[in-house]
């Protein structure tokens, strides 16, 4: 960009576009690693790196441009050499992509760009290996181990090798070993140097080097074992291979809507939210006009009601279109999964094939945003705790490669998202025991739980079947957070599992979060909305006939007894009503199971536009949002699962 032009006005565009290029680059790289450097994919990867370089240079972000330039060079080298991208290089390029994303995000937040000089050095060394003739020999030393780890570089081994004393050609033997190791990754710090090595000038027949490779130690040993007269004197991991949490922090900010680049326009997501708010207000205003029209003089009432109907139809149509504009294909989430699966599988030494179907199904953007982390967590769980190591799988007659499937489909007005693995399944006995040992239920209650509910115990905080807490899935968001996120968008979670066969997590999701059907209940002088989706049933029952043998009174419902809570007490609403005779109870699905909520009066049902609560009201437990009814009355919508916690 010519000097003097203010680049800041292009910053937003730069950030969003560069992020998209980098995300696609990352997807390309994973594909390259799987399929070898096939034409179209490497061309595409090259173009993404190239675009980022150009954009960063135009904006004056030198460091970002240089990093992208190196990547472009390496991809170009692979393209012209028609060589396969090996795992070590795949790791390096993915690290570089992540680093570039880090740059772009830092730029967006007006922060100092993270130092990527070590990574830059690694890229330059790789380039030198690929094209020694045209590349200046890199001078920067390899990154220190801690930094290498933070960059996600592969582990490094220190090897010492010895050529058999009787060998007639020690130099060639040593060279052969060096060549074999170079094929496994990047070789550093060769001692003596290559010329001395080739000439056989070895100290007591020994030489040493460091090997940066993504391969397992046993694979390195196996490769050396095919060379006669060269003995591996020692091999040690320089870098303790502490599995680090895969990078899951997703880029913030705007995202393209839709998948057809030619026919879309970028819209800030906040604008979409505002449009939806506006359309929602219009719906409510129309409902209020309808109420007013009812009390209009009889002469004009007919005409008014006709006009209100027309207005209502228009507004509904507008609302539907805004909702549609917010629909985002699920691929926005699932496109990231292959990379994540690869990283997790590598760190845990699993062999996993991930298949994704139905990624074109669309969901409201708000739901997609909310489910990003939970979906990743389910994937991690599947690989980490579900899929067994290849050796173990073969022992039980399974193919060594595990399968994880993410299947999405539309089912009437819902979207069903399943994460399924063919791993070892969940152990319900352990879950029951864990729930008991944490004092969450009695042994009898735990034993009596049906299988489906026992499996759901894994969603209680602190209960997990994983005996080994790994860095990957044992910490951070747990299943309780996953379940909470799913429920926060109005969805539900179901778990099926068969020991030895596998586990299936099924997410039932609404298409949109914004419109909810409410059951309106009165408590004292207040009205509250209970999402109909959470209501199991409504019964009227004389309060004085409730079973009172336990701490809380019990209501007979079907063939069970449900604990009864007075909604007035739970919400601390002053309650002036005395209940003689039958009282209505709303049976809902709370966190702990079904409960009956005692209310004063049922007012009926209404479809409303849910509005999120703002500070400080969002801190109040048990409230999901607020809405304005057709008659203009504002009411709170109850967060049923957490109402009683």
């Amino acid at each position: 960009m010519p000097s003097g032009v203010d680049t800041s006005r292009y910053l937003g565009l730069y950030v969003s576009e560069a992020q998209e290029h980098l995300e696609q680059l990352s997807q390309n790289l994973v594909k390259l690693e799987q399929a070898g450097s096939t034409g179209p994919v490497i061309d595409e990867a090259f173009r993404h790196a190239h675009s980022v370089k150009g954009m960063a240079a135009s904006m004056g972000f030198e460091a970002t441009a240089r990093l992208a330039h190196r990547m472009e060079d390496i991809l170009d080298a692979y393209r012209s050499l028609k060589e396969r991208v090996d795992r070590a290089t795949g790791d390096l390029l993915l690290s570089a992509t992540d680093a570039l994303l880090g740059h772009v995000r830092a730029t967006a937040d007006a922060k100092v760009l993270p130092d990527t000089s070590a990574l830059m050095g690694a890229l330059e060394r790789k380039l030198w290996v690929l094209k020694p003739d045209t590349t200046p020999r890199p001078s920067s030393p390899p990154p220190p181990p801690a930094l290498a780890r933070s960059l996600g570089l592969p582990p490094r081994f220190a090897l010492r090798l010895k050529v058999a004393a009787g060998s007639a050609t020690p130099g060639v033997r040593a060279f052969l070993a060096h060549k074999r190791l170079s094929g496994l990754g990047n070789v550093f710090d060769l001692r003596p140097g290559l010329d001395d090595l080739k000439a056989g000038r070895l100290n007591d027949g020994s030489f040493s080097l460091e090997l940066e490779t993504a391969l397992h130690e046993t694979e390195v040993r196996a490769a050396l074992n095919t060379i006669a007269d060269v003995e591996l004197a020692s091999l040690r991991l320089i870098e303790p291979d502490a599995p680090s949490v895969p990078k899951t922090n997703e880029p913030e900010g705007p995202r393209a809507v839709g998948t057809e680049p030619a026919r879309t326009v970028r819209v800030r997501t906040e604008l979409l939210d505002q449009l939806l708010d506006g359309a929602g207000e219009l719906l409510l205003a129309t409902a209020r006009v309808r109420e007013v029209a009812k009390s209009a003089p009889a002469a004009s009432r007919g005409a008014m009601e006709g006009e209100v109907d027309r207005l209502n139809a228009l507004v509904k149509d507008l609302h539907a279109k805004v909702m549609k504009a917010r629909m985002t294909p699920i691929s926005v989430m699932t496109d990231r999964l292959p990379r994540a699966a690869r990283d997790i599988a590598r760190r845990r030494d699993r062999d996993v094939e991930l298949t994704i179907t139905g990624a074109e199904v669309e969901l409201d953007r708000a739901i997609v945003d909310e489910l990003n982390d939970p979906l990743l967590h389910l994937l991690r769980n599947a690989i980490d705790h579900g899929i067994e190591p290849p050796v173990e799988r073969e022992k039980t007659g399974k193919p060594p490669r595990g399968r994880v499937q993410v299947n999405v489909r539309r089912d009437r007005d819902r979207v069903v998202l399943e994460v399924e693995d063919d791993g070892k399944g969940m152990d319900d006995a352990k879950l029951r025991a864990a729930a008991v040992s944490r004092g969450l239920m009695t042994p009898e209650a735990a034993a009596a739980l049906p299988m489906r509910e026992a499996l759901m115990l894994c969603c209680l905080p602190g209960v997990s079947t994983a005996t080994d807490v790994t860095d990957i899935s044992g910490r951070g968001v747990g299943m309780d957070a996953v379940k909470r996120a799913i429920e926060s968008v109005g969805g539900t979670l179901e778990i099926e599992s068969q020991k030895g066969k596998g586990t299936r997590f099924r997410l039932l999701l609404p298409l949109t979060v914004a419109v909810v059907q409410l059951l309106l209940v009165d408590v004292g002088d207040e009205t509250f909305g209970v999402p109909v989706a959470k209501v199991n049933g409504v019964v009227e029952f004389p309060e004085e006939q409730l079973a009172r043998s336990q701490a809380s009174p019990l209501l007979p419902f079907g063939n069970t007894l449900l604990p009864v809570y007075s909604l007035a007490e739970v919400l601390a609403v002053p309650n002036g009503h005395v209940h003689a005779g039958a009282r209505p109870f709303v049976v809902v699905e709370a966190e702990s199971g079904k409960v009956a909520l005692g209310v004063d009066r049922l007012r009926g049902q209404e479809e409303v536009v849910l509005k999120a609560l703002t500070r400080p009201l969002d801190l109040v437990a048990g409230l999901a949002g607020v809405t304005i009814l057709g008659n203009g009355q504002p009411i709170f919508i109850l967060d049923v699962p957490r109402l009683l916690t």
Binding site: V172, K198, N225, T226, A228
Partner: protein, 122 residues
């Protein structure tokens, strides 16, 4: 099943020695070639598990032949045969993708040790 070997050398004398060594080690010599051109042809046709390759041969030398064979099958296992003093050429062949080398005059135990290692049998 015995591993199938293709022996490439321009001297009949040398091929016979190498063939006998392989026979004694339980290998099956499925073919021979006396120059680089022939070597590539025989390789395509026989698809042996192992090819021993002389370095210096008429028409096409062993390094060129090795390169071509690896283009046909990148997983091909080629072991060079060289006299002492040819180290530089052997290293060139290794750069070209040869998996290992044996030194002429070949001694049975050395040759068998190298090829068994290369084929992952030792």
């Amino acid at each position: 099943m015995a591993k199938r070997v293709l022996v490439v050398d321009d001297a009949i004398f040398m091929r016979d020695i190498i063939k006998d060594i392989f026979a004694s080690g339980g290998f099956e010599v499925v073919g021979e070639a006396s120059n680089g051109v022939e070597a590539v042809e025989r390789f395509k046709e026989l698809k042996p598990d192992l090819t021993t390759m002389d370095l210096v041969m008429p028409f096409k030398n062993g390094i060129e032949a090795t390169r071509e064979i690896l283009r046909v099958d990148p997983k091909a296992v080629v072991v060079m045969c060289s006299a002492l003093g040819q180290e530089a050429l052997v290293m060139e062949a290794i750069e070209a993708g040869a998996m290992d080398f044996i030194v002429k005059p070949p001694r049975a135990e050395d040759v068998l040790a190298v090829v068994k290692k290369v084929l992952g049998e030792a």
